[in-house]
Symmetry: C2
Subunit: 363 residues, 2 copies
């Protein structure tokens, strides 16, 4: 294949072409430094400028208040599943969680190893195809925090920005791995947000965390030094060698996002992209969306024909046309189109056009 494909991968996933072009051009000699960003000391002035610009753009784009610390970490969102209880579950030792999918379940399983976890609700009964109603009366009043997976990558559901639970002062913790920077959330409603970079922010190997200052510094005694937020807060994410190149690419992506008009503009485009696909799914008699309308993700859109053979044929034929990674997660089956910020409207249009063609052929 001589040209780039439309990549619907759930993560790592498509990145803006202009960012890749710039990274390629500067690979051997970044801005006259005489070296690649991969070769730079993390303590050098030139790298410091990169990480500082990345932080300031990230803060700007998300509207993060000064009372939050922004961290550039390693270990993926999976490491946050442990860091969160080890650092925060230390006053009453209790936390509330909502079970909205595999990632939420993994977070719950890990937290249970460190304290008392109250699972308020689950949508497992219907393969996590909706966000369960929450009864505020069931919330643990003195919980150390309240955890939600804001966007459920595998199942294609999300807590919409206006449907975040009101935790009545308990710090809300959000896994935003698969929808950070895709639509406007009031980040200041959270005590902590975290996200692996490999969907909307760059290559894997970088995890972004924003944590409210008052939540820093109360880790359990046995917390490994590298899993203690305070260590990284005190060292401005340079306690040890950070994932420098991933931070550089994230910085370029934040710049690109800003040039696109920021998160508000992204939200507008993302809603158009998602609407194009959902509208077709709802009107199609071959394909259907698996998620209840009010809980639909803008980023991950699972769909099925209801016929395994047809699903298989669809994945095969779409791949041949350069529409790749559309196979659904084994737990849902069918197909899934992940349409993160870097997926263009043209990509979604091409997908929908192909789906129509496929439907006509398979009437």
């Amino acid at each position: 294949m001589n040209q780039r494909v439309y990549n619907f991968s759930a993560g790592p996933s498509a990145l803006p072409e202009s960012v890749l072009m710039e990274a390629s051009k500067d690979m051997l000699n970044y801005k006259g430094s005489g070296m690649s960003v991969m070769e730079m000391s993390h303590r050098s002035k030139v790298f410091e400028e990169i990480i500082q610009e990345a932080e300031s753009l990230f803060r700007d784009l998300l509207g993060i208040h000064d009372r939050y610390k922004v961290l550039f970490l390693q270990g993926g969102a999976s490491t946050q599943f442990s860091m969160i209880p080890m650092n925060l579950m230390t006053k009453t030792g209790k936390a509330d969680y909502v079970d909205t999918g595999s990632w939420a379940s993994k977070a719950i399983k890990e937290a249970k190893r460190y304290g008392n976890v109250n699972v308020l609700a689950s949508s497992k009964d219907k393969t996590y195809s909706y966000i369960p109603e929450l009864d505020p009366a069931s919330f643990t009043k003195d919980a150390d925090y309240f955890h939600i997976t804001v966007n459920n990558t595998i199942y294609g559901t999300r807590f919409a920005p206006d449907l975040l639970p009101d935790t009545n002062g308990v710090p809300l913790v959000g896994d935003m791995s698969s929808n950070i920077l895709s639509e406007v959330y009031d980040i200041n409603k959270f005590g902590l947000i975290y996200a692996g970079a490999q969907k909307n922010m760059g290559p894997s190997g970088l995890t972004m965390v924003a944590i409210r200052e008052d939540l820093v510094g109360q880790a359990m005694d046995l917390t490994p030094t590298m899993l203690n937020y305070k260590i990284h807060v005190d060292a401005d994410s340079l306690y040890n060698t950070p994932p420098c190149y991933s931070i550089y690419i994230a910085m370029l992506i934040f710049r690109w996002l800003k040039n696109q008009g920021g998160v508000e503009a992204m939200e507008k485009t993302n809603k158009e992209k998602a609407a194009l696909l959902y509208n077709y799914l709802d009107e199609s008699s071959l394909f259907k969306a698996t998620v209840e309308e009010k809980d639909r993700s803008l980023m991950n859109i699972p769909f099925v024909t209801g016929n395994d053979e047809l699903d298989g044929a669809f994945v095969k034929e779409s791949t041949a046309k350069g529409l790749v990674n559309l196979k659904g997660h084994r737990s849902v089956g069918g197909m899934r189109a992940s349409i993160y910020n870097a997926m263009t409207m043209e990509g979604v249009e091409t997908l929908v056009a192909f789906m129509k063609e496929f439907e006509a052929k398979n009437k």
Copy 2:
């Protein structure tokens, strides 16, 4: 600056130019996949081939026996400082450590949080400028492991391959962050080795571990899932999203190393490079090496003039000539030339020529 500099950074550090050129060329479309390696699902066939080739080259280059597992992890060598005690200090709860520098000290400090650490010897009395003699009679017979920092990046000392301690069956654990793949060690003498990639293996954000099978699976109860070797062993380093792009660059570097003739050939060149610099330091009346001859690192070579002003002038003038990152670590002062595998003989020759010039001018 329009051309590449000679980069003597201690890490992240210089990479082979041919590797950077290939990465740059394939940035937008890796081998006809239609996407960047940064955009690939870690579960895709094309990425699987990359990680498998990386593992098989790493095993080949180091001569790692089948009874070892090779892991691609995140978190840097610093995370290993916790993972090692949490996973291995679980039978008698005792471990021996040798204090040969700041990194060794950090490893010791972290291990003390999890068990009984016996510090057998320290070279702190002389700013870690030598490797202390070890008295086998002092070794803890039933220690769970015995930890050394094989190469001390800051101070420029190393345990030479023929001077590894004989631990009499206690698993030897080696931090090889700054000398892995630089000269031939019998890796099968170790129970576990670990190394951040950012010196001899690629960009930061990737940590390589080789662990003998029998040491896997005994982690402490409170070990975070992501810090449990067994989790990564069972999942072939794909438990969660690994640092894919760093793994790709490491694979390219392993290929390059193989083309150079492997570790034996590297050792030969590295010894020539180091000899050129050490010989000059020993004959110079202006500059001197800070480390005792038998313990000298081939990778990190600190040197001083004994005059802070001259040191400052040297760093400034060398930088202007495109010989960069020669400033020594604050704890040693003076200068340090890190000459990892990717530093060419030409680079060292240029450095020595400049030093001679500087000496002539400052007689």
